[in-house]
Symmetry: C2
Subunit: 325 residues, 2 copies
């Protein structure tokens, strides 16, 4: 068995094929994978299908598509549950590891959230995102706009849709790690805003021990009032908090200051050693670093009544290719 993320996709693809009563093609599978929350493109589906063929789990019928073999059915029933349950922290750790944005050269990848909107809604959505980002609701004002699958990113784009990539706050952890500071996201939470300032977390969900992204839980609960927070100064936004060794606080401050020059901000403060930060508990010997999450900008789009479908902490993207809307 290889990469667990690949394995999970293989199982899901087998499930899709097994659920159909006729052969299924890559395009249809990509569509359905998208519905099931996997942001992978047709090209990646083809790659996975070749692995399944090699293992004897699927069978190709010319250009019509693939069916599942008896061996595939058995494999699927064994894998059915175990391959679906993955803790979100594992995925986050992998993406932190893959972030290689270099503050000196300006080259490399950041972690992004992928959101899908109708092409017709693009102008309105861009207005809202620009507005939210200009008011500091997000970690970076830069956005990747993908109109169709490119060779650079295998991100699935359904017909008539545009994918927007917003910088994910976990990028902060990637930057800290690249600069030698051990870090791990501790909590995702709902932040109460008062007088245009973060007042404190009112709800928290730990990143460890959950298979569902905490930020996705809050997004789904429609807990935010981003636009109201920007307009009136009080409301609820999303933020998260990471812990680093207290002895690394000074170094982290330098990295965070340096990142601002590259439009990577959103950091609220650096806490004191072992002290709660904005009511979020911090372990002894550590300091907490709360950051406004990138998802706030897309949550604002939803609040404005525009349909947007968001996958937090999706993949990595070259920062240079993202732009201010």
């Amino acid at each position: 068995m290889t990469d667990p993320n690949v394995e999970r996709k293989l199982v899901e693809i087998m499930r899709i094929i097994s659920e159909s009563d006729k052969p299924v093609g890559a395009r249809l599978i990509a569509d359905e994978m998208h519905n099931r929350g996997y942001a992978i493109g047709e090209r990646a589906v083809r790659y996975h299908l070749r692995i399944l063929d090699e293992r004897g789990f699927t069978e190709k019928h010319g250009y019509i598509g693939r069916t599942i073999t008896e061996r595939g059915k058995k494999e699927l029933s064994d894998a059915l549950v175990s391959d679906r349950l993955g803790f979100i922290i594992t995925k986050i750790e992998e993406l932190i590891y893959r972030t290689d944005y270099d503050l000196d050269s300006g080259k490399g990848n950041v972690i992004v959230n992928i959101s899908y909107i109708d092409k017709d809604d693009y102008d309105n959505a861009a207005d809202v995102i620009r507005y939210a980002m200009a008011h500091g609701a997000s970690i970076s004002p830069k956005v990747g706009v993908l109109e169709e699958e490119s060779d650079d990113y295998d991100i699935y784009i359904p017909e008539g849709k545009i994918a927007l990539a917003t910088v994910c706050s976990i990028t902060f952890d990637g930057l800290l790690l690249k600069n030698g500071i051990p870090t791990m996201p501790a909590f995702g939470g709902l932040m109460q805003m008062e007088n245009y300032e973060p007042e404190g977390f009112v709800d928290l969900i730990s990143y460890s021990g959950t298979s569902i992204d905490p930020i996705k839980i809050f997004l789904r609960r429609k807990s935010t009032s981003i636009l109201k927070s920007i307009d009136t100064g009080s409301g609820y936004m999303l933020a998260n908090m990471r812990e680093i060794p207290a002895s690394a606080a000074k170094r982290a401050e330098i990295v965070i200051e340096r990142a601002k020059k590259d439009d990577i901000g959103g950091n609220i403060c650096i806490g004191d050693s072992g002290e709660d930060v904005l009511y979020a508990p911090v372990q002894r010997g550590k300091v907490g670093i709360p950051v406004m999450v990138g998802i706030n900008a897309v949550a604002a789009v939803e609040e404005a009544g525009i349909q947007i479908d968001t996958h937090p902490v999706s993949t990595v993207m070259e920062y240079k290719k993202m732009k201010i809307l």
Copy 2:
């Protein structure tokens, strides 16, 4: 400062009073507390109001109601955030401690979830609950039916509503603890059912480090398919998992067997030492005990299209006074 639960209610009541431009009475406050997720009755509101008066935070204007004082306003702004953030595990620990149901005498309290339905929906809801419980979706077939606030339980009943108390799976932890077995709920999760049997968890959220009840998160996401699971054998139900010392497994088995005679069941199995149980990770030296949660029965009511508003892990109730519907 006294009990943090009392403090949290005091703050919420002050907030309600401060948000009104005229004096507010206890009945209105109880209504609004209910909307905000606090299942407390008018009588309890009056009790809390007396505390607030004594502290000089509120002021009584005869029978018209209460207003907030300047001192109350200051207190409220200080307390605004810190008193709202409480981890769910703290509340659960408190309820486990308060459970005193005795398997030998049949006396004492169990932990219950409180659900509200329209009086008109009662017969239909009771049918669904009876059906779900008869098919083992729940920990106990006994239900407490409250039509109005009683002297025994200060549970708030809005006009035209009935409150249904279902046995909460955390009662299991209370029973184990009363029998000398240290226990703590580890995860709430979504359980895949196949061939009418639990096949494994497909999603998990840890009870520690979250301010929102994991079961409430799944309920809100409408993740279940209880009725389909009962009818076809496959679907999704809610379950949770606790850990106990591996050396206490034999003793736990005896307690669990004994509890069945009192209609407290729902236990799926007892895992092996340090081994995953139904794909949920278990710490070294511990065994995992997964249990179908009581909320399944009320989730089924919602699936049947009947509006029901549920507060998991709400309070304790005398088990003797609950009955099979």
